[in-house]
């Protein structure tokens, strides 16, 4: 099912959580809503589910397969919603939690006891919890609760699955496991899924598409590759990974040539370089822009080598190297080196500028 939001706003007590949002979620894709906390991503998800009502003025639309559902109640929208803290019914065991959606159907539509039982166990096998069917939520671990919440949401055969920070409350190891498992599950069932996260790694790893939100607006939409390699603005670039920011000056006379700002000069653009996009030179390279820096600290524990440097103005610069490169160069603390960027992005006033 495709989902489209047209001109949707949401205000809470005068605070604009979402500001005329327009967005389309493609059928069958796993989309990540990514942004810092308070950016409106959870509100967006809850609006799709019908758990929030959009501002009546200006009137927007929420289309499910082209049909406006904005006045449709939550229960009628057939969305599977997985809550951040799972919201499992604490007085019901796992089986009853999953069966709930079927038990509350109208008598004419309600499956028989036998069918309910079959469907519940099918789902519990899917989330690998069939042996725990009679446990209470309080007797489950965080990861298990998450999977019960998912099975419960799937039990009503939703056409869209919405997950609010699905891995937010789990510890690191369970998190990565469940992440992969969710991706597999989506591959198998592939219906339209949207999940909210503030973890860019998570979004980049499992989503088909990423929607970046900030202060109630959408900053960029695209595949993980697009948003990572072609960030639309400084916010996106900063949010998707570590980055070094330099103040720069755009030279209008020299056809928009950009150079790093000198001491005392006003800057009118920011120059952004990812830590892994630096080339380190031991000697001063003859031509091109270069930054002189002194190595302050080297950390080799981990998959890459992280080097803290400082430039002449004592500004911190972070550089990432592979272990091979690092060994080949034999760097040491206190050493003076020169950096040239392999790749950089320039944004003036937060907007991208042609290089």
């Amino acid at each position: 099912m495709s989902i489209k939001l047209e001109n949707i706003s949401k205000t809470f007590n005068g605070f604009k959580a979402l500001d005329s949002i327009n967005i389309e979620f493609a059928d069958g894709k796993l989309t990540a809503l990514l942004g810092p906390s308070g950016s409106g991503k959870t509100t967006l998800l809850r609006l799709v589910a019908g758990l929030e009502i959009p501002d009546p003025d200006p009137a927007g639309r929420i289309l499910f397969n082209g049909k406006d559902v904005v006045n449709e109640q939550v229960g009628r929208r057939r969305v599977g919603f997985v809550f951040q803290h799972y919201a499992l019914f604490r007085h019901m065991n796992v089986f009853e939690n999953v069966a709930f959606g079927m038990r509350v159907k109208k008598r004419s539509e309600r499956p028989s006891q036998e069918e309910i039982r079959e469907r519940v166990f099918e789902l519990l096998r899917l989330v690998q919890l069939d042996s725990m069917y009679n446990r209470l939520p309080s007797q489950l671990s965080g990861g298990q609760r998450q999977r019960v919440a998912l099975a419960r949401a799937l039990a009503i055969r939703p056409e869209v699955l919405l997950l609010d920070e699905p891995f937010g409350a789990l510890d690191a190891k369970v998190r990565t496991e469940l992440r992969r498992w969710l991706r597999d599950l989506h591959e198998r069932l592939h219906f339209t899924s949207i999940f909210v996260t503030h973890d860019q790694e998570e979004a980049l790893e499992i989503a088909d598409r990423i929607v970046l939100t900030n202060q109630g607006r959408i900053e960029q939409t695209g595949t993980p590759e697009e948003v990572f390699h072609n960030p639309a603005n400084e916010f996106v670039m900063r949010f998707l990974g570590e980055v070094n920011v330099f103040h720069a000056r755009v030279d209008e006379n020299a056809a928009g040539q950009v150079s790093l700002k000198e001491r005392g000069e006003l800057s009118d653009a920011n120059l952004l370089i990812r830590p892994h996009d630096f080339q380190i030179h031991l000697e001063n390279p003859p031509k091109g822009s270069r930054i002189a820096a002194v190595i302050q600290k080297i950390r080799t524990a981990g998959p890459i080598v992280r080097i803290d440097m400082s430039d002449e103005e004592n500004k911190a610069i972070l550089v990432h190297l592979s272990h091979e490169e690092f060994r080949a160069m034999s760097l040491a603390c206190g050493q003076r080196v020169f950096l040239t960027p392999r790749q950089l992005k320039i944004y003036a006033n937060g907007k991208k500028k042609p290089k």
Binding site: G75, R78, G101, V104
Partner: protein
């Protein structure tokens, strides 16, 4: 080691603890246990038969009937109110909410006698509706409706004040989950909200019931003390006592005391089930 030393130091020395225990238990014994003992010993002073005769007396039986009737009307009404107030004030946030909660608590801070007085001012012979009621031959004061109204007022907050904080603390996530799964409002309330607050609800109900059956001041003002007609159990005990029929008075009191003890036991059980601190 260090910690263990402090921990030991934290505990008061033994003689101090013994003194504290002596004072605490002595005070409890004097003001709480001794009256209990007196009630039962006075009630059975002349043997089981006299006790039985006192409470199977027609006037006593009618008092028991009236007390049960009042509780049977008052407790369900206040329970329904408690549930609606719990839903509206516990699950939603809106302007004036805390003011409403204060209003609901109001009867707790009003003396029982005043609680009775206000109904006299409304429905008594010289009250607001007095002339109209007299003209239509409807009697509220000095009859059962007045007793019911005064008891409703006095026990009004019991269920609501248990449920509002409980429902508010539990939040609405589970209800929202039920809604996304297709449950209607009533189904959500019955299957999710109600089971989650059942112990708090029971707690409120038993306290409401205890007060409804035992209320004295407010009921005494509006009842008129008509034997066999408008006497509840506490009023019956009062009349017997004032007639120097002590044994019969204490026999009736022993019934009410039993009710209080049962209430305390149920309350303790519910607290153990309800309180996560004590449950774990």
């Amino acid at each position: 080691m260090e910690q263990e030393r402090y921990r030991r130091a934290l505990r008061a020395p033994r003689p101090v603890n013994i003194l504290i225990g002596f004072l605490a238990l002595g005070f409890i014994g004097l003001f709480l246990v001794l009256p209990l003992i007196v009630v039962f010993s006075e009630a059975f002073r002349q043997g089981l038969q006299v006790w039985w005769k006192s409470i199977s007396d027609p006037d006593a039986l009618s008092a028991i009937r009236l007390t049960l009737l009042v509780a049977l009307i008052v407790v369900p009404l206040n329970t329904i109110f408690g549930l609606t107030a719990g839903w509206a004030l516990g699950k939603f946030r809106f302007k004036g909410r805390s003011f409403l909660i204060t209003l609901i608590d109001l009867p707790f801070s009003i003396s029982p006698v005043i609680s009775g007085l206000i109904f006299i001012l409304l429905f008594g012979t010289y009250g607001w509706f007095g002339p109209w009621l007299t003209a239509h031959h409807i009697q509220i004061i000095f009859s059962v409706p007045g007793i019911v109204l005064a008891t409703l007022f006095v026990t009004f907050p019991f269920v609501a004040r248990e449920l509002i904080p409980l429902m508010s603390e539990q939040g609405t996530e589970e209800e929202q989950a039920a809604l996304t799964l297709g449950a209607g409002g009533w189904q959500t309330f019955r299957r999710i909200t109600l089971p989650n607050v059942k112990w708090g609800l029971l707690y409120g109900i038993i306290l409401c019931n205890a007060r409804a059956m035992g209320e004295f001041g407010a009921v005494s003002v509006v009842s008129g003390h008509i034997r066999g007609e408008t006497n509840t159990l506490p009023l019956h005990a009062e009349i017997l006592y004032n007639e120097y029929n002590f044994t019969a008075a204490f026999a009736v009191a022993s019934l009410l005391t039993l009710l209080a003890l049962v209430t305390l036991i149920v309350k303790t059980i519910v607290e153990m089930k309800n309180d996560p601190r004590r449950r774990s």
